[in-house]
Amino acid sequence: MMTEPQKIQPRPTAVSAPYFEGCRQGVLRLQQCAACGRQQFYPRIVCSHCGADDLQWHAASGAGRIASYTVVRRGVSAAYEAPYVVALIDLAEGPRMMSQIVHIDADDARLRIGASVCVEFQAWSEDIDLPVFKLLEEQ
C-alpha cells in the first residue's frame, strides 16, 4: 500500500509543549510575561521584550489580520498540494506568526493584506494539530 507523503512536522519540546497541547484542544496559546505584560510568539525561555523569565500561558482570542500572504503555486514537496496560501498573521494580542489561510480559492479577491481572520485547527499528523486561519465573513 502506498503511504501518503507526510507534511513537515514540528517537534514539541518541554518549553513548547503547552502550545502544541493547546492546538490539540483547539486553543491558541501565547506566552505572556508576568513582568511587562506583553505576549510573544514563538515560545521562548525568556521574554523577547524585557528579558524576564516568568512567562505564563494564556489563551489567545484567535483573531488577527493578514500582514502579508502569498499563493504557493508550486508546493515545497509532494505532501503539499498547490495552490495553497501561506500568510503572516498579526494576532490581536500583538505577536505575528506564519500560518496558512484555508477554505478560500487562491484567486479570491477577498484575500488581501489587512483582511480579518480567525483561527481554526487542522491535523498535521496523528499527534500534531496546527493553527490555520480563515477569512471572517462580511468583509
Binding site: 500572504y69 509532494a78 503572516l88 488581501r112
Partner: protein, 386 residues
C-alpha cells in the same frame, strides 16, 4: 579611511551546469584559479575561509578544503550566514590581517545545486531556512518567503509586479554582454509578467537561477598589495546588519538591515550613494534588488520601482547594477551566489571587464544578504587613483 585590505586575486570556475566537478572540487578549483590570478603559490597562503555546500556538506568544511589543497593555514574558518556570508567574511578577513593573524587569505566558495541535487532536494534544503517548528510545517518555499516581502511592499508603497520585473530585465541586459553568463537572451517586462506564477506575485523570471559554480578571491594587506600582477582593489568601507533569521520575526517586511550595513560602509569609506559608479546588489528575487536599492540610499524609500523603471541600473545607466548579470541571469549556486558579484567588481575596477566594462569605474558598492532579508553585508571597493 585608509584601506587595510586589498583584493589581489579573483577567479570563477566554469558556472551554470557543471556536472564534471563536485562542490568540493569546484571550491578547490576556484581557490587555485584565484591564486594563479594573484601570482601566488599555495604555500604562501596562511588563511582560508569557505562556506559549506548544500549538495556536499562537510562537517569541518574549510579544514577539508585545506587538506585537499595541502595547505596548512594559521586561520581556517567555515562561515555560514547564508547569502550574506560572501561579504561578511571580507570584514573578518580585514580584521585578521590588521591583527596579524594571517597575511594572505583565500576566500573560496562553491556549490552544485543544479547537478548534485534533485529539484525537490534543492527546494526542501533551501526552504529549511524557515523556522522548523513554526514556519516550515506550513510549506513555504524560498520564493514564498520573498513573496511575502514583495506583497507587503506592494501594499505599502504601491509597487507593481511590472516594476519588480524591471530588475530581471536589467540583469539580463548585463548578462547579454557576459560570455560566462548562464542566461544571455534579452527579455522584456512582458516576458517576465507572462512567465508562470511561482508564489504570487513572483513569477519564474523573478526568481534567480539554479546553478553549479565556484568563485574565489585572494586578499592581503593594503600595504603589500602593489606587489602582485594585477592592480589591487581596496576595501574602503564595510558594514553588517542583522535583524532576524525567520521572516515571521522581522520587525519590518519592507525595510531591511541593509540600512544599517550601508550606513556603516558609507561612513567608513567617507562616501555617499551619489559617489558610487556601479553596484552589485543581491538578486535572489527581483523584489530584493528593489528594496535594497532603497535601503542603501540609491533612491528614496518606496521609490525603488520608479528607480528601476528609469533605466538607471541598465548598461550605460547612472548606476549599472549587477554588471555580470547577477544571480537572475549569470549563475546562482546557493550561498556562494554573491561571490561572482565580488569577482566581477574586481574586474570592473581593474578595467578588465571587456565588452561590459563600466566607463571610468573607480568606486563600487557590493551588497549581499542571507536568510530571508536577515543578514546583510555591504562593501565599498575602490582602486588606486591614476
Amino acid at each position: 579611511m585608509a584601506a587595510t585590505l586589498a583584493i589581489v586575486g579573483a577567479a570563477d570556475t566554469q558556472v551554470g551546469v557543471v556536472p564534471g566537478r563536485s562542490p568540493t572540487e569546484l571550491c578547490v578549483d576556484a581557490a587555485l584559479r584565484a591564486l594563479a590570478d594573484a601570482g601566488l603559490d599555495k604555500s604562501q597562503v596562511d588563511g582560508l575561509i569557505t562556506c559549506n555546500a548544500f549538495a556536499e556538506p562537510i562537517m569541518y568544511h574549510a579544514e577539508a578544503i585545506a587538506e585537499y589543497l595541502q595547505i596548512f593555514p594559521r586561520m581556517c574558518m567555515t562561515a555560514g550566514t547564508g547569502g550574506g556570508t560572501t561579504f561578511s567574511v571580507i570584514q573578518h578577513a580585514a580584521a585578521a590581517i590588521a591583527a596579524g593573524t594571517a597575511h594572505t587569505i583565500v576566500i573560496s566558495m562553491a556549490d552544485s545545486l543544479r547537478s548534485f541535487m534533485s529539484r525537490e532536494q534543492a527546494m526542501l534544503t533551501q526552504s529549511s531556512t524557515g523556522h522548523p517548528q513554526y514556519e516550515q510545517p506550513y510549506g513555504p518555499t524560498v520564493p514564498a518567503y520573498y513573496a511575502l516581502i514583495a506583497q507587503a511592499h506592494m501594499a505599502q508603497y504601491g509597487t507593481t509586479a511590472a516594476q519588480f520585473a524591471q530588475a530581471a530585465v536589467s540583469g539580463r541586459a548585463h548578462a547579454a554582454r557576459n560570455p560566462t553568463a548562464q542566461m544571455r537572451d534579452l527579455i522584456t517586462v512582458d516576458d517576465v509578467l507572462n512567465s508562470r506564477l511561482i508564489a504570487d506575485p513572483l513569477r519564474l523570471l523573478d526568481c534567480s537561477l539554479v546553478s553549479d559554480g565556484g568563485s574565489a578571491v585572494v586578499v592581503t594587506s593594503a600595504e603589500r598589495a602593489r606587489d602582485f600582477p594585477h592592480a589591487p582593489v581596496y576595501l574602503l568601507g564595510s558594514g553588517e546588519g542583522h535583524s532576524h533569521e525567520h521572516i515571521s520575526q522581522a520587525a519590518s517586511l519592507t525595510t531591511s538591515a541593509a540600512v544599517l550595513s550601508g550606513k556603516q560602509a558609507y561612513e567608513r569609506a567617507g562616501v555617499s550613494p551619489a559617489d558610487i559608479d556601479f553596484a552589485q546588489i543581491y538578486d535572489c528575487f527581483t523584489p530584493t534588488v528593489l528594496i535594497q536599492l532603497e535601503d542603501l540610499g540609491f533612491c528614496g524609500k518606496g521609490e525603488g520601482g520608479a528607480f528601476l523603471e528609469s533605466g538607471a541600473t541598465l548598461p550605460g545607466g547612472s548606476l549599472p547594477v549587477n554588471t555580470h548579470g547577477g544571480m537572475l541571469s549569470h549563475c546562482h549556486p546557493g550561498n556562494p551566489g554573491a561571490m561572482f558579484a565580488l569577482t566581477e567588481a574586481v574586474w570592473q575596477l581593474r578595467g578588465s571587464a571587456g565588452e561590459r566594462q563600466v566607463v571610468d569605474a573607480s568606486l563600487a558598492l557590493v551588497h549581499a544578504q542571507g536568510g530571508i532579508m536577515s543578514s546583510h553585508a555591504t562593501l565599498i571597493l575602490g582602486r588606486d587613483d591614476d
